[in-house]
Point group: C2
Chain length 338, copies 2
DNA sequence: TTGAAAGCGCTAACAT
DNA sequence: ATGTTAGCGCTTTCAA
């Protein structure tokens, strides 16, 4: 049964029996405390001791038990990242930024998806809190920040992305979407478009408001249609708009996924993009460059967004006062759809 | 400063001072052991006691400290999911499947990205192990499964996706890509295509082999070009192939992202899809339906793949012998690119 | 049905 | 430079 002819160890069933600090100490002939000092590089040991301890660690394949450490330090070095969905490529790309930044700072990332359901968000937060996460980064459920506020109130450092929450344990990181909308609208007008419509996100009151409100204020007579932020919904909403014979020659969509749906609907209706209608999206997900026509859009730097969130979270954790909200700039990427 | 006029609590700086099992016990007037029994529903308590304990838990907002529990039970109820990249939509979608399945079974998911770098994979696994994960699900680094084998050897239940590793602590979950290739090739031939080429993944010896080998055996005279599995690389490889004046009228790509690159390259060269060349991809990521022309592809059910991985992992953890490898069926989705 | 004691693996707060 | 004691919050074992 055993793969080679080594003597069968005492605990035959568990090959790699985990070594503890104690085991290392015993083997070297020092106290566990000394090993701990070396492991954490606290100083207070001779370099000879250090050497011997390090060797023993290698020989035994010792690996610190982070759970035990966390229990006493009250630091788990874990972060939770919570997103509503993951089939919109925007979120995974932010996740990548969060994970990379977290990893570089010695943090490990939990990822959870709430499917936009409030009760799932609550369950997820509950469980994350039980795991003793050091901090939380999330795109909060649009309707209700109460849960988030509750956990923050219990002392959980929290970074809220693209939403607002005034709380000493909460820091906000956002993209400058107001500016994004103005870039989009200005661009459409420069293209000679005079009747503008917006495909807004029905599911996201506060976040929507940022884009929708800006749009409304810039385009008082503009048409605003709300739909879920998916390809299919964007398609349907646009098709209905066209069927109603509403006149518009420029469309700004809440995100690229909806914009893609809109383009397809416009083309399916026998119109052309950008011949009849110019379309501008928001996010600049990878797909947007691959569409036909390529999608003109407002670019959000997701990696940076994720990294910024981690950085703010750490500031929040390590300081008494919450750092101010940070706002990341966005830019216009012009492709063929406008 | 305080937001309303509640009396300032004793511990002014820490509002939600975390309640422990002990606190609950004290408040109810029972021993911690009894509270523990109720929390874990072990039985051995009167329903009256149960009631009072539950009340106290609510009042104090008690939440079990999973770290402490794990330390003693040696179960953390966490799983690590490790992927090479995340900007290929295929992986996030599997991640969603893993996370949902994990959540439903009371597991929390760590997500890590290795960027296809072996040293990053090692670092990630090392850290995950320190966190005491109960299991690991990964798309392993293509060149080298040694690290994976090492951790499995130390007792870590591991599910390897789309690769092979023979080890009692490892279970393999894969898609039936051999069948997928044969579906693709048969389909291209039914479309009257006689000179077939394949865009293979240079970075993935073993996985590639599955698709590439099948292709070679079905199409002895076929052209096989290798490139990294990205849009740009797929574009470049295809452009070069066309520039070399190689004759082919049907193309099968390792994945949809490469196929999308190929289509763009073909169109940019002045040829048409599927007029001159039919293209078939693999994965059926969301984007594939949105391309122009819509991409014909081999569909892999990512959610199911993720769910299956979790399910196998749990079998692995809870049994002595590794469950057999499972293979998920794939199907052909015909769109306009062929 | 309940509780007391021990200890998971580690670090904090003292020793020396 | 090193060791000792205590205990993080919980479950386990054994006893009542």
């Amino acid at each position: 049964m055993t793969s080679d002819d080594k003597p069968i160890s005492a605990a035959a069933s568990i090959p790699g029996q985990k070594a503890t600090l104690h085991d290392v100490a015993e083997r070297v002939g020092v106290s566990p405390r000394t090993v701990s000092r070396v492991v954490n590089d606290e100083g207070g040991f001779s370099s000879a001791t250090r050497e011997r301890v390090l060797n023993a660690i290698n020989e035994l394949g010792y690996r610190p038990n982070l759970l035990a450490r966390s229990l006493i330090t009250n630091r788990s070095n874990t972060v939770a990242f919570v997103v509503p969905v993951i089939d919109d490529p925007f979120f995974p790309e932010v996740a990548q930024g969060v994970q990379a930044a977290a990893r570089d700072r010695g943090l490990t990332m939990f990822l959870a998806v709430t499917e936009g359901r409030l009760e799932l968000q609550r369950q997820v937060l509950e469980r994350m809190a039980s795991h003793g996460i050091d901090g939380l980064i999330l795109f909060p459920h649009a309707e209700d920040l109460d849960d988030v506020a509750r956990f923050a109130g219990q002392g959980l450092p929290t970074v809220v992305i693209d939403d607002a929450l005034d709380h000493p344990n909460v820091c906000v990181v956002r993209s400058d979407l107001e500016h994004g909308v103005s870039l989009a609208v200005d661009h459409l007008r420069e293209r000679g478009r005079t009747s503008l419509a917006m495909l807004a996100n029905e599911a996201s009151p506060r976040r929507k408001l940022r884009r929708e409100t800006t749009f409304r204020s810039m385009v008082p007579n503009g048409i605003v249609v709300k739909s879920p932020p998916t390809f299919e919904a964007g398609y349907r909403a646009t098709a209905e708009l066209l069927a109603r014979e509403e006149r518009f020659d420029g469309l700004f969509a809440f995100n690229d996924v909806m914009a893609a749906g809109a383009i397809t609907a416009i083309i399916d209706s026998g119109r052309s993009v950008p011949g009849d209608i110019s379309v501008v999206g928001c996010d600049d997900i990878e797909m947007s460059a691959l569409l036909t026509p390529g999608l003109t859009t407002i670019r959000i730097d997701r990696e940076r967004l994720g990294a910024e969130a981690v950085s703010r979270l750490i500031q929040l954790r390590d300081s008494v006062t919450a750092p101010p909200a940070s706002t990341l700039t966005v830019s216009l990427v012009v492709r063929e759809s406008s």
